[in-house]
Symmetry: C2
Subunit: 321 residues, 2 copies
Amino acid sequence: MKTEVTLGIDVGGTNTAFGFVDINGKCITDSSIPTKANSSAADLFARLNPEIDNLYKTISDNAILKGVGIGAPNANYYHGTVENPPNLRWGTVNIIEIIRQYYDVPAAITNDANASAIGEMLFGAAKGIKHFIVITLGTGLGSGVVVDGKLVYGSDGFAGEIGHTVFDPNGRLCGCGKKGCLETYASATGIRRTVMELLANSNQYSSLRSISFNDLDSKMIFEAAKAGDKIALEAFNFTGRVLGQKLADAIAVTSPEVIILFGGLALAGDLIIKPTKISMEENLFHVFRNKVKILQSGLPEGNSAVLGASALIWNEIIKAK
Amino acid sequence: MKTEVTLGIDVGGTNTAFGFVDINGKCITDSSIPTKANSSAADLFARLNPEIDNLYKTISDNAILKGVGIGAPNANYYHGTVENPPNLRWGTVNIIEIIRQYYDVPAAITNDANASAIGEMLFGAAKGIKHFIVITLGTGLGSGVVVDGKLVYGSDGFAGEIGHTVFDPNGRLCGCGKKGCLETYASATGIRRTVMELLANSNQYSSLRSISFNDLDSKMIFEAAKAGDKIALEAFNFTGRVLGQKLADAIAVTSPEVIILFGGLALAGDLIIKPTKISMEENLFHVFRNKVKILQSGLPEGNSAVLGASALIWNEIIKAK
């Protein structure tokens, strides 16, 4: 008997990854191609199709395709569209219509943070958990909110933008045009800004003083913190304090059992989780205290985005049964 | 044929109101008794029962009781309990067990803000709306969050505490022990504190300068604002600015179509809605802008709490059909 698989496609600003995943979250095979930010969505899928076909041929003796799930920036689950993604020159385009030209199976699209949340629910740290929030700490801060076992899309399909809740109305300029959004503090870019601010405000020795803003990345800050660099450690503390305060706000809305941290910055483990947890507890309304766990992602690092995209459509298939 | 009715009971700190409501949200008859904050929950329901019986006798020739819905402070829908309500000396008590001693019909309990949200959904301003948030502006600030036509109770039954999200971590001391909670600004008590702060910080003439903190209430501030009092007007502006900012945060989580303002302060209409709307739009992530309406409650002022409690159980009965 053939194994049922779904195709997960994760459209990133630089690369588009894809792979075939079974119902247990095992990624059987995967690959990627450059996204080419300046070309159209139709062009991307025209280039993807033969690559996916070739990959499918390697498994099609033993596998049968049941659906296609896509994670993409500014994706709208309700409309099947991607709407003015910040890093791609796509404008607004219906991706599900494009997908239907190539595949005669159910397809669904959502943004990467929502796909991650469904990935955690089906295959990762949120298995069996009905109420949780996934926070993706990448270049920005994405979030996926699950209530009663269902991802919250909201009235317009764009629910779960905790990265753009306001930490400080007079704070850092955000890429979205607002000031002081959470993601200007709690993200790979945010912690870099925090290091620069700390270097400016203190005379503390730091190995990070020799690195330019452009060259600095969150991995360097992580390495410095592990080596005991006080500026790097304080940057993680501050990042956690900000994140914890805004998580407390989000918890007051949907009362999740678990918060899952996903993405590059989350790999710092306790360096980010400990200060986040302390600040979250301090800022929580008392009825929520000592109830909400903060966990790291339960998805394997290498192909978590493909697993998330695949989980999106597996979830639809399971619901339809 | 007899009209099916449910019994709605709203337990307040001072009075407990009750009434019989049909499936169209018509309150056929209602009454109230003193809650007596120092006596037990069992005592309250022992006193309520004969009163309710007497009221039911006036309609029982033409009506048949189908369920009991209760709105009460710190009520937990999942457990049927009230847990350490701030204004009643009840500790934690299972109200549904008490109710079952008197009535052999389905019963459910939740807090007053959640009951209001279901009331708006069935009988009020949220009819046919799947995603909305009700904000109750009373002594404190309560909220009920509806996602996809269902009230969000969260993992522990206490979801929807937007009043205790943080506006200013160094701000006003809240009754909950935290600092700067939204409800210390946006509530009947909050606007009173704002007036006192504005009087302290300016030399502006105001009719409110002759009123003590204890004597001042939000109705007086409303009357002064209507008469053009600059301090009162600025108090409404500031209250709306704070509320709008925190509504924008909540909208980023669940993306509602509508925000409904309910309770005393909401009766000020545009005086509170206009600055709230302006601030909300300024603080919204761009994808949510110019989409979210702010409406006043659609429930009749006099017995809205009884209608909400009744709607809670009507909603259960409708779901079970």
